[in-house]
Subunit: 323 residues, 2 copies
């Protein structure tokens, strides 16, 4: 089994695409990287950053001769892209993607994949709130999980090669069914984003608390949600347009539980509140133990020392006298 | 106006109390710190950490001769504490606290404050998910906001002294009405905690997605919520027991907005989703511009380089040959 690819074609070069390019080059997993984008500015930016070897606005040209093609564009663009690249794909090539939903990708792209091309959709659970070609970094996938959702009849050797590629990028890899993937990410990613976007929207739109107060006093917890709610709007629009059923199911459960919690607050049920708040602490510890988050307090956010106290006071009190 | 205090009494020495102790000493704001705790183990831990000068299990003893007394215990303990320390408070002393709710504190503690003691409740919007005396650090308050909620008739010089003390700790200070404070923190802190606790509880309790999957794939957004949901259970129980009205109001607005968003997902209203997701991005920028969060991607979480690729592959392909 080979982890080395002759030509990697990245269709789209945002945060994920550029991170793949940087990591694949650094790790020696590919010889040549071709990059296709929709917009000239993005392509120019990728070229200036030196992310690849071939730059083009024509996705068909990018995939010609490639043995690994990864769609890194918003999921909403996949159908057009698949139609554009289909005829240019090499027999034996692997076609994959990094989209956050997988059933939809199978449905939309699957029928457009030519005979002899190995279609293995994928989803690396990694990212930051930044987007665009300059947001990428080679360490993004280290220790994170990438899910691959090939149909059962896909060539096993091709799957093994793609698994080895992602492991080469530093990722852990798990194979799963596309429908199950969509449920897993609905609770671990999509509903968290939905409620983060929602509370930030709510806070932006209050009459009795000003926006300036929300911003000043955001360190009480709110600011954590704003990071997620700063994620790429188009990518996330497409997520919710294409994973509706799973999101609705998980959102329904979240709302059921929230009704119970709301009632506990209303009736002042201290033991119920404390029991939930204790149970949730254990999950945080499991995530840290599993290497999926930092144990540093406050995510390791930097803290500056307080500035020296106004010298007026120090002089007044002679540096320690009784006031 | 003096920022120097003769004796600071901290009643309770968790994350906030210990951070005040460390910062006040480092900044030269106090001469002597006395620490009172409910439990002997906590007191021993504080002594081993060298957080103060006087250690006692008797809060009345701790406050004797103190010109600044700060309650740093869970809000649910305030009434008993106020009764215990009331007779021992010095005339002219300032009595403050760091509790996350303020109307309740005025109602419960206010009537128990002796004549001649300046009662100025406070709330520093700062913290981490860690708790206990060892969780504190002197930089916790730097650049964060502390809200003080004195009644209008409180001695202005005393308020000025407490403002100067918090500024000396590195904090920004804002004076506001207790009822308004409770609304502000309901949206910037309490409801965010409630929904974080709730979604972590939901994810802990699914039939069709395992706990192990939730943990492995938590980097998709979920793990951010687990940090908040790892906060001190007793402190947060008391928050929801004592700020019910404001929490219910803000939760109601959150739920109204969520219904609209849920409908947009259900009917596939792409423009509405994209509009919200674009609007929320601006708030993140404002928070960073206001110095209330780091601009580093992913809160500045550490990222490791991917491990060297399995040498088996490298040997097999001679370091770059066509596969």
């Amino acid at each position: 089994m080979s982890v080395h690819f002759r030509k990697l074609a990245l269709i789209g070069i945002g945060l994920i695409g550029s991170s793949i390019a940087l990591a694949a080059k650094r790790q020696g997993l590919v010889e040549v990287i071709s990059i296709a984008t929709r917009r000239q500015e993005t392509l120019d930016e990728a070229r200036e950053l030196g992310l690849g070897d071939i730059y083009t606005l024509d996705p068909a040209e990018a995939v010609r001769g490639a043995d690994l093609v990864i769609l890194c564009a918003p999921v909403g663009a996949y159908a057009d892209l698949a139609r554009a690249i289909g005829p240019a794909l090499e027999p034996g090539a692997i076609l994959s993607d990094v989209g956050s939903v997988k059933r939809h990708v199978h449905e939309v792209v699957g029928p457009l994949v030519p005979e002899g091309v190995h279609f293995i959709p994928g989803h690396p659970m990694a990212g930051t709130e930044h987007s665009g070609p300059s947001a990428g970094f080679a360490e993004l996938f280290t220790g994170r999980w990438c899910m691959l959702t090939p149909e059962p009849d896909v060539d096993r050797a091709a799957v093994d090669r793609l698994v080895a590629f992602w492991k080469g990028l530093g990722s852990n890899v798990e194979l799963m069914d596309a429908a199950h993937h969509d449920l897993v990410v609905a609770i671990t990613s999509h509903v968290p984003h939905l409620i983060a976007y929602n509370i930030v929207g709510t806070a932006d739109d209050l009459g009795n608390v000003t926006k300036s107060e929300v911003i000043k006093f955001s360190a009480g917890g709110f600011r954590d949600f704003t990071r997620i709610a700063a994620s790429d709007p188009v990518m996330w629009r497409d997520v919710f347009l294409t994973n509706r059923d799973a999101v609705m199911e998980m959102l329904g459960r979240f709302l059921e539980d929230l009704s119970v919690l709301q009632r506990a607050v209303r009736v002042g049920d201290g033991p119920a509140l404390e029991a939930l708040f204790t149970r949730t602490r254990a999950i945080r510890r499991s995530i840290i133990d599993a290497g999926q988050d930092s144990s540093a307090p406050d995510f390791g956010r930097p803290h500056e020392a307080p500035p020296a106290v106004d010298t007026g006071f120090v002089r007044e009190h002679g540096g320690g006298d009784d006031a």
